[in-house]
Each structure stands twice: as structure tokens, then as C-alpha cells.
């Protein structure tokens, strides 16, 4: 029996693959940026079709929003057209085909789409999804920390309605903490790399690139 999600899923994924090929083929970087935004929105539709609502939300906000403006800013500061290149690069294509074939050979052992007997649906998470919402009796007054004798081992701290947020903030809270640190480090790296330097400091050349006879940023056609 065919899974009804699959019909819309196949159509959307073929569109996604076509957009991906367009992104790497087109020569104008502005077109590549806009196509990348379209790609992110199509992926958000794919996630919504597969009932992954938080992922769709994040992909639409981050992929179609922030990533597009980031690339547009990069375009303004660099140039708008890539150099002319050969359409197909045979050695690279051969490597990609061989790698793809090996990976596809590896997927023959995977469970099919939506298989209820897949290993991922057998272990910890179904116990979590069977918990009660709201105040749980095992989370009653306690003097010691979470994992101690007398505390049920299957309490995942996840008693809020959105299971994804409860997993993110309680079961995998270490991951989320270090992810926040990664975002913070990315912000700091941007400050360090793109901060305006005062001329005359070590290694900072004179302001007008015309004096040096070099191409100015953003001046390429």
C-alpha cells in the first residue's frame, strides 16, 4: 500500500532536485541566491508534508530569510557574476556518480518509508511519547536530583505538549547549550573578520584602492 504522503513528496522532491541543479549551474550569483531562497522554501514544504513542523519553521525562517540576506550582502561586497566555466567537469562528475552509486547501494538495508517496525520506533522514544502531559507524579517533591533511586527511569522531563521542544530543552539540553555557543562563536567570528580597521595600523593599507591600482570591492560587473 502506497503511503499517501509519498505522492506530494515525490513531486516536491523532484522540484527540489531541479532547483538544486539550477543553483549550481547558473552563472549569475544573484540568480543563485534567489534560487537558494526558493530551494529553502520548497524544502520547508517537504518538511511540512512529512509532519516535521519545527524543522519546517526553522528552515523557512533561517534558510529563506537569513541565508538569503547573508548571500545578498556578500554579493554587494564581492561580485555579481561568476567566471565562465565549462558546463560539466568530467572527473568531478565521475567521482559524484561513483559516490552516489555506493551510497544508494547502502540504502538497500534501510527500512522503507514509514515502516512501523523500524528500529528508530522501537526503543526509547515510544516510551517518551506514552508519558502523561502536565504534572507527572514522579516529578513530585524531591530532595535529590533527577536520577536517583526511587525515580522512574523512563521520565524524560518531557511533559509539555510540544515533544520536540521538550526533547530539545530537557532530554538533549547539552546539545542545545553548545549549539547556542556555536551561534555565539559565529557572531564573534564575524565581528573579528569584518570589523573596520583603522588605517596605518599594522598591515592595514591606505583607504583608496585606486591608489594601489587594485580592483575595488563591489566594482566588478
Amino acid at each position: 500500500m502506497i503511503n499517501p504522503i509519498l505522492i506530494l513528496d515525490m513531486f516536491l522532491l523532484l522540484l527540489v532536485a531541479a532547483t538544486a541543479i539550477a543553483v549550481i549551474t547558473v552563472r549569475s550569483l544573484l540568480s543563485a541566491t534567489v534560487l537558494a531562497g526558493i530551494y529553502s522554501l520548497l524544502m520547508a514544504l517537504v518538511w511540512t508534508n512529512m509532519h516535521a513542523l519545527d524543522v519546517a519553521f526553522t528552515e523557512a525562517a533561517v534558510g529563506a530569510g537569513i541565508s538569503t540576506i547573508l548571500l545578498l550582502g556578500a554579493l554587494v561586497l564581492t561580485k555579481r557574476f561568476a567566471n565562465r566555466e565549462a558546463a560539466i567537469h568530467p572527473p568531478a562528475l565521475a567521482i559524484c556518480l561513483v559516490t552516489g552509486a555506493l551510497l544508494i547501494y547502502g540504502t538497500f538495508d534501510m527500512p522503507t518509508f514509514g515502516d512501523p517496525n523500524a528500529p528508530i520506533h522501537q526503543y526509547r522514544v515510544p516510551e517518551m511519547l506514552d508519558q502523561e502531559v502536565g504534572k507527572h507524579p514522579s516529578a513530585a517533591p524531591r530532595e535529590q536530583g533527577h536520577a536517583h533511586a526511587g525515580h522512574p527511569q523512563d521520565d524524560f522531563n518531557g511533559h509539555v505538549p510540544n515533544t520536540v521542544t521538550s526533547l530539545l530543552a530537557a532530554y538533549r539540553s547539552y546539545d542545545t547549550m553548545f549549539e547556542t555557543t556555536v551561534i555565539f562563536v559565529a557572531g564573534i567570528s564575524l565581528l573579528l573578520l569584518l570589523r573596520r580597521r583603522r588605517e596605518g595600523e599594522d598591515g592595514v593599507p591606505a583607504s583608496s584602492a585606486e591608489q594601489r591600482g587594485e580592483p575595488r570591492e563591489g566594482s566588478q560587473p
Partner: protein, 170 residues
């Protein structure tokens, strides 16, 4: 609105691009009308992260989108004037610090790191939900500040400061 019909001219270019965009009446008015709603929606997404799709990351990006819209329409320098860049720097760090601080408070209260229930042991179940909300606020603050920083950093027109020019920070 005392704007001349020059807002109907072709696309602005050159060093006055930012100023001309803010003279386009339609863009300016629509931006002013929609920015409060975007901010309110961003806060809504962060606060209701536990009851529906949403959470810290999504809400933080939406909050940043409101500020970036202001910067696009009125100019990045205007945005720097409204929100001092040292404040955005501080918010970046405070979000991550807040997250780790909640974990540390749980450690000091006698539980494991990031064991939210120990912050209020007599209502451990409620406190776990509240701890998760607090942590999402920290994440939202950091994500919003970093996205605004990204926009401010890539919207600079010059890469060096001329002699005599004052650094505006960020």
C-alpha cells in the same frame, strides 16, 4: 507626507541609495506598520514554543527579521543609531550566559547540571516546564542578536576607517 513624486523614479543607485529608499512613501509606511507585528509574532513564537511549533531559534530569527527590515528600509546607520552596537554585543553573550546560568543554578541547588526540577523541589514538575521556557528565552536572545550582527557586519560600505573618521563600533 511631504515626499516629492521622485519616489516614482527608477531604482536608486550610488551613495544616496539608502536615503532614497526611505523617501519611497509606500515602503516606509508599510515597514513602519508591519515591524511591530513582526516583533509581536517573534515574541509569541518564543513564548509558545512549548505549546505548538516554535521555540527559541525560530522566534529569535523572526525578531531579528524585524530589525533587519528596519535596517533595509531606513539604512544600516539608522539602525546602528537606534540600537547601540555594544548593546547587541552584550545581548549575544548574555543569552548563552543565561542558558548556562540556569544549568549552574540547578547544580548549586543540589541536582545535576541543567536538571531544572531542582530549582523548586516542591513543584518539580512545574519547574521543569518553567526551566525549559527560561532556556528558550536565552537561546532566542542570542540568536536574534547574532542575526542582527550578521546584517550590520555585511552592510558596511567601507572596509577601513579613513584618518580622522571615528569608529562607530561594530
Amino acid at each position: 507626507m511631504s515626499d516629492a513624486p521622485k519616489s516614482a523614479s527608477p531604482a536608486p543607485s550610488g551613495p544616496d541609495a539608502g536615503a532614497q529608499m526611505s523617501q519611497q512613501t509606500l515602503i516606509r509606511v508599510v515597514a513602519k506598520m508591519t515591524i511591530p507585528f513582526i516583533l509581536a509574532f517573534g515574541f509569541y513564537v518564543i513564548l509558545h514554543g512549548e505549546l505548538g511549533p516554535g521555540g527559541g531559534f525560530q522566534g529569535g530569527v523572526i525578531l531579528a527579521a524585524a530589525f533587519i527590515l528596519y535596517g533595509l528600509v531606513f539604512g544600516a546607520d539608522e539602525l546602528r543609531r537606534r540600537i547601540p552596537p555594544p548593546f547587541i554585543d552584550a545581548c549575544m553573550a548574555l543569552g548563552a550566559l543565561f542558558y548556562a546560568g540556569v544549568g549552574l543554578a540547578s547544580l548549586l541547588a543540589g541536582g545535576n547540571f541543567l536538571d531544572y526540577g531542582m530549582l523548586a523541589p516542591e513543584h518539580a514538575g512545574d519547574m521543569e516546564a518553567k526551566g525549559m521556557s527560561l532556556v528558550e528565552y536565552g537561546v532566542g536572545l542570542t540568536v536574534a542578536s547574532v542575526m542582527v550582527t550578521i546584517y550590520l557586519m555585511i552592510s558596511e560600505r567601507r572596509s577601513t576607517l579613513r584618518p580622522g573618521e571615528k569608529a562607530q563600533g561594530l
